[in-house]
Structures are given as C-alpha cells and as structure tokens.
Symmetry: C2
Subunit: 264 residues, 2 copies
C-alpha cells in the first residue's frame, strides 16, 4: 500500500512553480481520483502561502489525470494576517488538468469558540459490519489505498439493489492507516461512490465539474465518518453535499460538488 503523504509530495522548482507526480494506485480505471489530484495542488498552495491548511478550496476539473509527472503553478493573490489566498493550475504535458482557488490558514487552534451544530455524525454499524471494496475482487485500485466501509443500507447498488435514496454513508481511513490531515480530507470527500448509484437512474458516472471543500479542523486520529447526499437532479446537473466527522464526533469538513448527469 502507498503513503498518501509521499504520493502527494511536491518539489518547489522556483517561486510559484512546483513539480509532483500522479502516482498509480489512487485511480479508478486509470483516472486519478479528483480529491487526490487536488491534494497535490493544495500541498503546493500551502507551501507557497506558508499556511498549513486549506480553509476553503475549490477545484474545477478540466481533464482526467493519468499516472505521471505534473506541474503546479501557484500564484498568491493575497497574504493577510490570518489567511493567504492562492490560485493554482495543475498541468500534465502542458495540458491543464485542474484549476484551483483556495484560502489557506492554520486550523490547529484549540479555541473553538462559539459552537452550534445542527447535525450529527451518521449512525453507522461498526466498520467490520459495513461493505468494503476489495481490490482482489476487482474493485478499482483506489480502494487498495483508501479503506472505505459503506453503510450496508447504502451499498445495495454493488449487488444491483440500489436503495433508491440519494445518499451514501460510511467510514474512511487510509489503507495503511496513515493519519488523515486536512489534505487527506480533500481525498475523503471525493472517494465515496456517487449518490446517484443508489438512485435507480439510468446514470453510469457523474463527472465532477467543480468541488468545493470547507475545512473546519484537523481530524483526530482514527476512523472518519462521512455522509453524502443529493437533493437536486435537474437541468443535467446534480450537486452532492458531504460532511466528514472525526473520531471525537467533530465536524472536520463539509463539501459540495457539482457533477454532470449524463444519461446512459
């Protein structure tokens, strides 16, 4: 199994100019996971802004990424007291893969301040009673490095019995149980099967146009719980809203993506 930290490393060639590698093992059918690609870009942006954590980050997906070298060009557009804002472009062989805009800061502050949470982590059976993808049974390579355990009620699509609910809930950790940092959360919010798999719709795949993630805190060690849902399939688009909670029951990330809804 691979290390997320090693496989998202970047090298700074000169100010604003980075080199990285899309490693194999983070892909589905040869196309790198969108959250994994974004984590590489975000690492370059964090380095360039001198801020450890994305606070809110948006990626627009331009072309699928295949294993191999990539460049990341980062431009810092503002450095403030608490935050730095940067824009970035990831390219492979001169072709743009990803355009990113993010505000970076430091999420290790222990003073949470005011708290009012009108939601809760999803109720899940223990990981061993959930549905796990097995690479040895033909699951995509990604699931060798990402250990997903889906709520059995939401995993029916895998056996041809979709729940009918636009919802997917489950556990997330890295395959080698490497701690998940805020860059790892960018992968977590893009690793689960699309909610439309459970929808009894003639839809095979929903390509992501744009993915925005808000990061609220660095996760505590241990399994993460995540929940994804969609409410609006219309006009050829669907949104997917995600929440990720850490092992202490704290909300650590909120995501929303806009995806295309091509019919089979």
């Amino acid at each position: 199994m691979s290390s997320f930290g090693a496989d998202t490393a970047v090298e700074r060639l000169q100010p604003g100019s980075y080199r990285g590698t899309l490693a194999s093992g983070w892909d589905i059918g040869g196309n790198a996971n969108g959250g994994y690609m974004l984590a590489i870009a975000a690492r370059a942006m964090a380095t360039e802004t001198g801020r450890a954590d994305p606070v809110t980050i948006t990626a627009h997906y331009l072309s699928p990424g295949r294993a191999g070298p990539v460049t990341v060009d980062v431009r810092v557009v503002k450095q403030g007291r608490r935050f730095g804002v940067a824009s970035a472009a990831m390219c492979a062989g001169g072709q743009p893969l990803l355009q990113v805009l993010g505000t970076f800061g430091n999420l290790d502050r222990s003073d949470a301040g005011l708290e009012r949470i009108e939601s809760a982590p999803p109720e899940l059976p223990p990981p061993d009673e959930c549905f796990g993808h097995r690479v040895e049974n033909g699951a995509p390579a990604l699931f060798g490095n990402v250990d997903l355990r889906l709520h059995p009620e939401d995993a029916g699509f895998a056996s041809g019995k979709p729940s009918g609910q636009l919802r997917v809930r489950g556990w997330f950790r890295f395959g080698r149980d490497e701690p998940v940092d805020t860059l790892g959360l960018l992968l977590a919010v893009d690793s689960f099967p699309p909610t439309s798999f459970n929808a009894n719709l003639p839809v095979a795949w929903t390509p992501t146009i744009e993915l925005t993630t808000h990061l609220r805190a660095r996760p505590a060690p241990g399994w993460l719980r995540a929940s994804f849902s969609s409410r609006f399939l219309s006009g050829g688009f669907v949104e997917e809203d995600g929440e990720v909670w850490d092992s202490t029951g704290r909300l650590v990330a909120q995501s929303r993506q806009l995806a295309l809804l091509p019919l089979n």
Copy 2:
C-alpha cells in the same frame, strides 16, 4: 432606482482586460454587496469565454469594495465543447478585491432531462405580508435597488426578537422589477441578512470568505423565493446554504458561503 444591467456593465479594453464601475446604491454602509461585485466580474468572464451563464462560480473576498472604477483581468483556462472555464481578478487602484473561478455555459436549454428534486420552494406569505427594508427608515442603500421581503417568522431580528433559528426565507426582486438573469442570481444569493442575525449569538456581522453558487436555469419572470440556512457554527466559521426558486417553482440557484464568525 438603478439598473442592475447598467450598473454591472463592463468594457473590454483588450483581450482579457476589462473595466467596470462599482456604482453606489448596491452597498451596505459604503461597502459594495459581494454578489454585486461578483456579478461584474462574472460579466467580464462571460464575455471573455463567449458563454452567457455561470454554471458554477466561486469568489474569494479579499478586500471590501467602495464605489468607483475597477479592473477585471480574465484568463480563460479551458474552452471545451459545452463549457468554458475562466479565472478572474477584480482590483481597485491596484488593490485586489476579489479572486474568482468559474465554469460558464449556456443555461437556456429547454430539455431539462432527468428531474428528481427532494426539496421545495419555501412557503411564504404574499410579499405584501412580509417584512421589507425601507431605505427611508434607515435601511442600507442596497435595499433601494433590491426589494427583499422577509418571512415574518425570520424577520424578528429587525425588532430585537431573533427567531433562534439559523434560517432566513423571503422574496427577492430588483427594486425596479428588472428581470433577473443568472448574473442577477449572484446578487440574490448574497442579499439576505445573515442567518446568524436570528441566532441569539453575540455576533454583529459575518464577513464572507468565499461564496460558491451553482446556477441551474435562467429564472422565469416574477418574484424569486429564497431560503438560507446554517447548520455548523464551529471553529470560528459558519457556512450558509442558499436555494433560489423562480416563479414557476423551479430551482434556479444553489449557494454556499463560508463566513467568519467574529465575536462582538
């Protein structure tokens, strides 16, 4: 009253380089509304990409905008078959106000295709039975050009009786009843009072860090209905989720912003 179309006009000086004006009358206490500023940038991006409508657009707010001239520099990062992706920077006197990333396309397609909507427009009393801000009574200048009518249950904050619910619902139209296009929707999602006004919290204002809007369709003529809610006040941040529905009951926009939660 001012025209939104005229007050968001841009002039193309050369490829990628635009000039516009932050007009007075779209501000709160002299600071231009963030959705209004974004609409100007989006008009430049729509022009540069040759696509009428933002499909998903994200703005990171860097500095408050005051009335006066602005520049918008647009860079097209991809032109595809259906969509164009562009990044833009709005500056005033060389100071960055706004950094924007958006995917643009054409939302006039009548073939809605697959529809599955798990929500509904908010139930609202007729506009005349709702709460309206009155500039002559001291409401901010914005409310001379934007005609908001808040659900009476959500307007208690205006008389010192916040509802306690992190929710604001109401009607939206332009003051002169100019039709609202997809650029106007960018203003609509940023015109309502913050949900935190209803929260019984020691919070005066919640500066927007980032605002993302998904546009699903061009609105039909008539009043728009909107609903905003927040579920997670934590770590010094709050998200605010919005939905805008047109007079035919169609979802036309979905928004989410991340705002700071400074304590009084």
